[in-house]
């Protein structure tokens, strides 16, 4: 359900190498993305952004008529859309410059197709929320817009912190989210000493979403690291 929502997003690829454009296109099409646009230069890229309003841009750093950084700068004058850099330069400096300008992530070539997809999904999930989003768990359904859990014939309300906790886990569905990342999502930058509170919130969330809270199947503890959420 979530995937089809993400796959409906329009993605713009800007790269001057047609072979690479074809490859990325094929990878994305295979994954299920169906709205794809591409451009070979800064100028074309900007034009596509203006006319077609893509939801995500994947930019090469080196382009024939400028570089990805300047493209991003110009883009930022009229759009806040998420941007991902795909660069053949090494990690040393470009990435930071890219992120400083407001890029959402970067991928260094050579990349693995799965890595590319993972990053694209992560950026899209972070930036776009599905309206009236609902998720199916093993024992219940969670409605994020209403902050409610439906279980058999019961309706349970989620507190703000429980909502934030579940939302963070859903965004990283099936993946481990560290204690630290969860604390940060719940209490902001540099949280210290919130581990016990986090445990308490997790316990209460489990009471609401799990059939048997002492043997959780949806919200799973990964020992020493964090938690992950299994969505049906």
């Amino acid at each position: 359900m979530e995937h089809s929502f993400l796959h409906s997003k329009k993605i713009l690829l800007v790269d001057d190498q047609p072979e690479l454009l074809t490859l990325v296109r094929e990878i994305l099409t295979d994954d299920g993305f169906c709205h794809l646009a591409s451009a070979g230069t800064v100028e074309q890229g900007l034009a596509v952004c203006r006319t077609q309003r893509p939801d995500l841009a994947i930019l090469d750093v080196m382009l024939p008529d400028g570089d990805g950084f300047s493209l991003l700068k110009q883009l930022r004058q009229f759009s806040e859309m998420p941007v991902l850099f795909l660069t053949a330069r090494d990690e040393a400096d470009d990435k930071l410059a890219g992120l400083g300008l407001g890029a959402d992530d970067y991928i260094v070539k050579p990349f693995l197709p799965q890595e590319l997809l993972l990053r694209i999904h992560a950026v899209l999930r972070r930036c776009y929320k599905e309206a009236g989003e609902q998720i199916q768990l093993a024992a219940c359904t969670v409605d994020f817009s209403r902050a409610e859990v439906y279980r058999q014939d019961q309706t349970l309300a989620l507190t703000a912190k429980e909502h934030a906790l579940l939302e963070t886990l859903v965004r990283n569905e099936g993946r481990i989210v560290t204690f630290d990342a969860l604390c940060e999502a719940l209490w902001g930058e540099n949280p210290f000493g919130y581990e016990n509170s986090l445990n308490a919130h997790v316990r209460r969330v489990r009471e609401k979403i799990e059939a048997d809270p002492s043997h959780p199947v949806s919200l799973i503890t990964v020992k020493g690291l964090g938690y992950k959420l299994i969505v049906r």
Binding site: Q17, E19, L20, L23, V24, E26, I27, D30, A88, R89, D90, E91, A92, V108, K109, P110, F111, L112, P113, Q114, E115, L118, N172, R175, I176, V177, T178, F179, D180, A181, F192, V222, K223, G224, L225, G226
Partner: protein, 453 residues
């Protein structure tokens, strides 16, 4: 500074030896030069021998005729003066010599010359034997006295002068040593760390200015060459990145293409796997060369190590670690809030490499454990697995064989991958040390130790 001291003590020994040699040489030269003269002075014609011989052969107060011949041959004249000052006997006496002498005349010539003939006298019973030697054959000291004090002080003077000379020489030596040391010290320490020393930092003043300038120049040159080398590696790897992306991408697509036969899918997976190796190599190579030539700027920040480790572990697991592997964290209570000033990107890379190593070398699977401990002074980060490990010989090779980037010989066969080199370099730029422990079938353990800032 050690080399310098060694150099100086060697020079000191050499100089001491040289001075001794000079003394011996001078004595030798003295002997050679004066051997003839001394031989002559104390030979059969010498005054003391002649006086003795003439006195012995005297016939009463008369010079024996047997002496006349030897005296003539030596150019010596002789006379005997009685107590009244009258010449009673003589041999080959020159005509200008008078035959009567007053007491005063005797007193004067006995100390010196008679008509410019150096004369030598001997007291006999009631007479005086006088030998006159050819003019300019001897020099007589006419004022031949020294005060008693002069002579008693002479040994003290000689020894004292010698001692003082030695002290002065030694002082001069020490002073010049200090001076040279001051000028050469920075040069030598710069050369010791060469070419890692900071460029152009040697002062180009003082005695060794020209040398310092050359060292600076050489350091600059080496730095530029290193820079060129790192840039070259960077450029080459850059050009490999896009083509490799294509290979990786299409290999992956073929491997997952349901229309491809299983054999083709397998082959595609092999291409994929090998391409991943090249990908890792490219990424490591760039960083290793930059660290090696100190071109990688460290972006240090205070990093919460426990969190960083959790993030790395979670990322590794999220990226998909095969089921045969397990990855666990063990963070001691004391280490939980620990911060280290470090470049998180590099630390992440180092730990990633260690995990990657364990995975790569244990295709049958293994458990990987990341451990963070601390005590008052140290932070100890351990990455260990329970896999096949290394035999002692392999471990030694790993620790002792230089990598081809750091070696100039031609043996490429014993070289290991860049992974651990990079870990070591990253650890070292953070002021830490890396230790490898392993035994065959008992796993592999790398310990990184940092000091607490």
């Amino acid at each position: 500074m050690n080399t310098l001291s060694r150099l100086f003590s060697k020079t000191f020994a050499a100089f001491s030896f040289f001075i001794m040699f000079l003394i011996v040489l001078n004595l030798g030269l003295f002997a050679i030069t004066f051997y003839g003269v001394i031989h002559h002075d104390y030979g059969p014609d010498s005054p003391s021998v002649m006086l003795q011989k003439t006195a012995e052969t005297l016939n009463g107060q008369h010079i024996s005729p047997s002496m006349e011949e030897p005296l003539r041959q030596a150019g010596i004249w002789a006379m005997v003066i009685n107590d009244a000052g009258k010449v009673v006997s003589s041999a080959t006496l020159p005509p200008e010599i008078p035959d009567q002498f007053s007491l005063g005349d005797v007193a004067v010539f006995s100390r010196g010359y008679l008509h410019d003939y150096p004369v030598f006298v001997r007291k006999l019973d009631h007479s005086l034997l006088v030998l006159g030697y050819p003019k300019n054959s001897y020099i007589k000291l006419t004022s031949n006295y020294y005060s008693y004090g002069t002579l008693t002080r002479l040994p003290l003077y000689v020894l004292g002068t010698l001692l003082l000379d030695l002290i002065l020489l030694f002082t001069a030596y020490i002073l010049s040593k200090i001076k040279v040391q001051r000028a050469a010290g920075p040069l030598i320490s710069a050369l010791n760390t060469f070419p890692r020393s900071q460029r152009g930092t040697l002062s180009t003043r003082g005695e060794l200015a020209a040398v310092a300038a050359s060292v600076n120049q050489a350091a600059e040159l080496i730095h530029r060459q290193n820079e060129a080398r790192a840039n070259w590696i960077r450029g080459v790897t850059h050009d490999l990145r896009t083509p490799l992306s294509m290979i990786l991408g299409y290999a992956d697509r073929i491997a997952h293409d349901p229309q491809a036969s299983p054999a083709i899918q397998d082959q595609a997976r092999i291409i994929q796997k090998q391409s991943v190796k090249i990908k890792d190599l490219i990424q490591d190579l760039t960083l290793v060369s930059q660290l090696e030539y100190e071109m990688q700027p460290l972006r240090k920040q205070e990093i919460h190590l426990a969190r960083l480790l959790r993030t790395i572990a979670a990322d590794t697991l999220n990226a998909g670690l095969a089921d045969v592997y397990s990855l666990d964290l063990d963070i001691s209570k004391e280490a939980e809030d620990l911060q280290l000033a470090c470049d998180p990107r590099l630390i992440r890379r180092a730990i990633g490499n260690l995990i990657g190593n364990s995975v790569a070398h244990n295709p049958q699977g293994c458990s990987i454990m990341l451990k963070l401990e601390t005590n008052e002074n140290l932070i100890i980060l351990t990455a260990a697995d329970d896999g096949i490990g290394l035999s002692e010989a392999q471990r030694q090779i790993l620790e002792e064989t230089p990598h081809y980037l750091e070696s100039i010989d031609e043996r490429l066969d014993l070289r290991h991958g860049l992974g651990l080199i990079l870990v070591r370099q990253i650890t070292e730029v953070h002021g830490g040390t890396m230790k490898i422990e392993s035994s065959f079938h008992e796993g592999f353990r790398v310990t990184l130790t940092f000091s607490r800032s």
